[in-house]
Symmetry: C3
Subunit: 338 residues, 3 copies
């Protein structure tokens, strides 16, 4: 896949300074890109990499053009423009229709003739698989599952019974959708399992990272709306509802029945309690704990950043006695006032 710089500039809507006939075949970092490759510059920390780049062209902002020794493509948002350029130069491989002879498919399953079913896949009864779907090796698809067009399951994904996926969904390896939620009731010390009768509905254009788990609902469904992007090793509890275009970084834990609004950005390793609501347009910094509903858009945090262990020991002891410290201060104030 190769384009001229002129073609690229037109397709991505950037202003080209340089030879429009220059052939571009790939993308690369400022440090490593060479002839025929295009790079981007959006972080001033890497200014020296820009000054020394051997890329054929660089996508950047107008104000950074003076430092660039090679052809430039000027744009307002270099990171986004780079994303678009990279997609142009690295189009998704098309799915080659095939049903592996080592797959196990129930006769009542419908598989569109343009779909690919890999080795050692198992597909249960009453499954519906739309056009252009890719099911990688070792996946297990439960009874009555529906998979929308051009959705892609990498190797060893598990979909429990009756899960529904939209179109253009990407599920990475080890993802488990629809396992039982953690529903137990205590009967004089013994736990009784509550049947998890809901399912999981996943919209269009959702991507879910490796080894992430999304539990089925207890009575109603767990819902992930269109355009949601979830990284690796995220846990989504039963009856959670995640609204459109929210992005969730790795290792986040979301407890049951919580609703997360649209356009949120949840940083890595956050923990979110059950039965709360996070409104639209909330940003959580990494390792934030959310115990109560958040009703105002904005940025929130609670993580404690690393310090040397000696300071930490002294601070932690005091943290555990903050209210004692506070009482002491109050008394001082009283003394002062006398």
């Amino acid at each position: 896949m190769s384009h001229t710089l002129g073609e690229i500039a037109k397709l991505i809507g950037a202003e080209l300074t340089g030879n429009p006939e220059c052939e571009i075949h790939g993308v690369g970092t400022l440090e490593r890109a060479g002839t025929g490759e295009i790079s981007f510059f959006s972080n001033r920390r890497y200014i020296n990499h820009l000054k020394n780049t051997r890329a054929s062209a660089v996508i950047l902002k107008k104000e950074d053009q003076p430092w660039c020794p090679v052809y430039t493509l000027v744009t307002a948002d270099p990171y986004l423009t780079f994303a678009i350029t990279s997609r142009l130069l690295n189009p998704e491989t098309s799915v080659r229709p095939e049903i592996s002879p080592s797959s196990s498919i129930e006769s009542s399953a419908f598989i569109h003739p343009t779909a690919y079913i890999g080795p050692n896949v198992s597909i249960a009864a009453d499954v519906k698989i739309a056009e252009g779907v890719y099911i990688g090796p070792g996946c297990a698809v439960g009874k009555g599952v529906c998979i929308g067009a051009n959705t892609r399951l990498y190797a060893n994904v598990v979909l429990y019974d009756s899960v529904s996926l939209g179109a253009r969904v990407i599920l990475h390896s080890g993802v488990v959708i629809g396992a039982d939620g953690f529903g137990i009731a205590n009967d004089r010390g013994k736990w009784i399992k509550i049947p998890q009768m809901g399912s999981v509905l996943i919209g269009n254009d959702v991507e879910i990272g490796a080894n992430t788990t999304v539990d089925r609902g207890t009575l109603d469904n767990t819902i992930i709306e269109d355009g949601v992007k979830i990284d690796n090793q995220v846990q989504v509890g039963h009856n959670v509802h995640i609204c459109e275009d929210t992005a969730i970084a790795g290792c986040v834990a979301i407890a049951g029945s919580t609703r997360i609004g649209k356009h949120c950005m949840i940083g890595g390793a956050c923990g979110i309690s059950g039965h709360i609501e996070i409104c639209d347009d909330v940003i959580l910094m990494g390792m934030t704990g959310v115990a109560n509903s958040i009703k105002e858009p904005g940025t929130y945090a609670s993580g404690i950043p690393a310090m040397d262990v000696k300071s930490w020991r002294k601070n932690v002891v005091l943290f555990k006695q903050l209210y004692v410290l506070n009482n002491r201060i109050r008394k001082i104030k009283t003394n002062d006032q006398l």
Copy 2:
């Protein structure tokens, strides 16, 4: 599966107000349940849902009966009673005996004729599988593993060699039991792996959530006693011992050789250090870090809840200097005393 309200009231031991002949076929939330469905009310936050419910009947406490527009089943613990009712109306599907032709089974393995072995399962030598066991697609069962009666492994579970599971155990997809513990010794900068010769013993009525991992012991076994319930993505280190009827929510990390008592409730995303003991009847709130043994029953916490990012920045700076603050306060006190 359908019952009359009268039958249900008798079976669950609740006091019925309403028509005992009313047919009930399922359970639902207060909001969505309709004719023929039963719901429950245990959280005052949802009082409006109760007032507007279209369920045929609601399980609730005596004192909440006045607000209920439909038939009622009065009980002391509506959540528990609902759990029992839901199990009654949604009995587990029985296991259909079958050995999939695409499974790979060593000839020395014993598989009870009532068991189900799904597609693409591999079963190694000297395995023993009791009556009514269900092994979902893609599971791998190592040498010498024992699986008790009516235990269920969903798709893509891995049991390493010599792991032992009790009866009525449920392992969700992606669970890995018996991988090597993290045992390494440092030899002048290089790590030497310590053979992990113990195994994992799991009792009866244990449920383990999707993608949870339980490591084998170094010399002795890792032990999970009867009735323990573990959610998704929990990590249980080597030689951990979890006692009866403890419940552990998602994303908890438990380091090696730690013992957790009976009837504990561990909230989501807690971290528990190695080589410590947590006594019986301890509750940990979500995101708690436990570095030392807990010797008194009770509730413990250490998570920091989210705040707006501006307050957080100021507080975190001060937290890192708490001991400086403390010293300043001490000096003030001295001045006061002069």
Copy 3:
């Protein structure tokens, strides 16, 4: 596998007090080891176990010899010496060459005749598998993957296309190497996926625990150098670089493009931000959050240890107002100075 105590003393370089002809066949804990077994003592907490041991011999330090009722092997580092002894008595089982008939292997893949390929494995085109490699059941190996000599993949490991593993690597079950990094760019509220064109390079003697995920790089590769040991459920983001002989405990989250130096020890459940550098010889205690680069070797922490819930409630309220407290203290000081 059995040795005399005299042979063992010579092989591990320890000073024997006792009968050199005593036969030893295994290792055990001080509490449980019996005749023919060897144990070790390195933690004074277990002094009573030492005094009552029934092991045939104990590895310990010179100064602890007086308390030992049985034969002793004296050494400077009992834990390390025990590791070496255990490896001696529990050698790795050698790989039996075989290609399971239920595996699916593309014709262009090269598999060394000494390798083992288990049931239900799928191996894509242009894969290279060296001598002595073990691929457990249900693994999926993508196009162009290279696997070095004597490397071992337990059941249900996934390697995406073009991943490269060195020699003597161990990957535990559920590991996913090479899934797409979390690369998305925002276009007026919608997320655009950035193609992840890099790969993952893993050096020699690396061990990776169950259900850990290592993402492929965006443009350059994600790199894990020789001798790195990673525990279960760790998340390694795209373009992370982990240097030689670093050890990472369970449930750590490492965001993209971060570099971790040599000989670091990262405690369990730490969270490490993206685009930072941690220098060589850093130790992070469990649950530490690292938001900025660490430039000095040493030990760092930020976790808050558990306290009883009443104290915690009071402290957390004050933590959220630390800057208010600080302002009050400043005013007091001013008053004092008047």
